[in-house]
Subunit: 321 residues, 2 copies
């Protein structure tokens, strides 16, 4: 059988695939061009892809009848047309759980990098011989430290529950944590309280978006949402770029409607280097590296490989979506 | 009575001083030049200073007999010649506790910014349209995530105990934490275990220096110490620049003896912009902003002002060193 792999993957994972299948590899650290993917996938049995590869009807049409499985090295599956896959009997594999701890850890790091202005601090230190230990902090205003409260936005999704739960554990000792979920199935505890979305926007100092991207969260962080937040609020997005209206975010950041934003996810990815968000001192943009530790990315890839093998050999996938 | 203030301080604090004393203010956000300080302090009764001001014998000589108190807006007092002050009957005030939470929080942020390569990530995102979601992480190696253990170096000092204790609380949910202290007075608990300094250097993935700077810690992180650390180790310094031999650190970072360093403190401060450490991708330098939240810096300044007033009015200082 033949499979397409859309990016350089760790050699251990590639070796496993090579032993069983004929592998058509896009041998690059960069995103596979769409035309190349459409061409390569013709008459293949399986696809190992990333969240940067849009697997829509056109790609599936090009693949044809032989395609049995799409295995993505990600926990999000919003880049895959699930209903088209279902209609064609194509199985979808994904990589939950193995990235939960790394992503929650990264969220805390991105939050603190943004709120404590660590990235700006490194620039200030490199640029000026007199920047040291501000007293007035006028140029270097940091409104909130550990007295702040935290919002974790969750929706009805088993995956974001996991990241959100670990995130709360990580951050619980820093501050009061609040927790938003559409239903109340998740039990309240010492740090977790339920509140409506508008209440949380109004009351929170830090807002971390870690929800799934779907119809109900599409553009949910828009002009109206930023207006409800405190002027001192820090907004962090580790979910998907689509939950944010980026024009509204740029406007809110440049007019100090909110104080800062840390974005590990954007629309599109990668964000063009001339994007206006890159011009703002109070916006920290990282290139979707929430799960990018060597250990975690290797575990994700090995799980995706195992998913693909099981699907093509008609065995139960360890993580079928 | 007359006092010198060596930097712009929040107006609330300045107002309190102005009501009681004639204030000679260095009205700047930059460090007061040494000659200016030596000139201004002549025949003054009190001094409100920062850790960037070296209060040595020459400065005290220039002040003369009238000087009764040196009040520093910092928890460290290594910039003040304590024995000279004691001989002259000059009281020293400092600002413990009020900065503990902010500094511990910052330490976690600096650790994650360095270990998860958040600063490098922002540069990569700005510079290249193809940098996104590395799989191999070859250019972007992050060895350790949450499975790592942590070292917190403490010595026999009540101040560093406080920061260290809060730091451990903050970081406990991330990983196994270890704790080094010269004596065993601090009680062991679930996350805190005692170990020798060499054992900790060898076994730790993350090493956070939050000790006092004194004779026993002067240059303790040197070539020999870095050699004992893992090649994957991340070293973070929130203590004082003097605990590190910076030439040895540069050598260790550039030859990959250790993987990365996050430094909020350096020798000197500010670090000259042409310093070799600034040329390294795996070194994150911030301009001593561990306590630089508006709330915390204001509380520190108000405490230092209260210390100075009490000393000059012969009442007990709220925080005498």
């Amino acid at each position: 059988m033949e499979v397409v792999v859309t990016r350089n993957i760790p050699s251990a994972a590639l070796n496993v695939l090579n032993k069983r299948f004929k592998v058509d590899l896009w041998q690059s650290d960069d995103i596979i061009p769409r035309e190349t993917l459409i061409s390569k996938i013709k008459a293949k049995d399986g696809l190992l892809c990333l969240l940067t590869d849009k697997i829509d009807k056109e790609v599936l049409d090009s693949a044809g009848d032989r395609l049995q499985a799409v295995s993505t090295i990600s926990v999000g599956v919003d880049h895959i047309n699930r209903s088209e896959c279902t209609m064609r009997g194509i199985k979808i594999g994904y990589t939950p759980e193995v990235l939960t701890a790394a992503t929650a850890e990264f969220a805390v790091g991105l939050l603190l990098s943004t709120s404590r202005r660590i990235v700006e601090g490194t620039h200030a230190a490199k640029r000026s011989n007199s920047v040291c230990f501000f007293i007035l902090c006028q140029k270097y205003k940091v409104t909130n430290d550990v007295t702040a409260c935290v919002l974790v936005l969750l929706v009805d999704d088993k995956t974001t529950d996991r990241v959100g739960t670990i995130l709360i554990l990580r951050i619980a000792n820093f501050s009061h944590s609040y927790f938003f979920k559409k239903d109340k199935a998740f039990e309240e505890n010492l740090w977790v309280h339920f509140a409506s979305f508008p209440d949380l926007l109004r009351e929170s100092d830090f807002i971390i978006s870690c929800c799934s991207f779907n119809q109900s969260t599409d553009g949910v962080f828009d002009k109206e949402a930023f207006k409800q937040m405190k002027n001192s609020a820090i907004f962090v997005n580790i979910a998907r770029g689509g939950v944010v209206n980026q024009d509204d975010l740029y406007d809110a950041l440049s007019r100090n409607v909110i104080r800062g934003a840390g974005l590990d996810v954007t629309t599109p990815e990668p964000l063009p280097t001339d994007h206006p968000l890159f011009t703002l001192d109070n916006c920290v943009v990282t290139p979707h590296i929430g799960s990018a530790s060597e250990k975690t990315r290797t575990e994700m890839t090995m799980l995706a490989v195992e998913n693909l093998i099981c699907a093509l050999e008609n065995r139960a996938m360890p993580a079928q979506y």
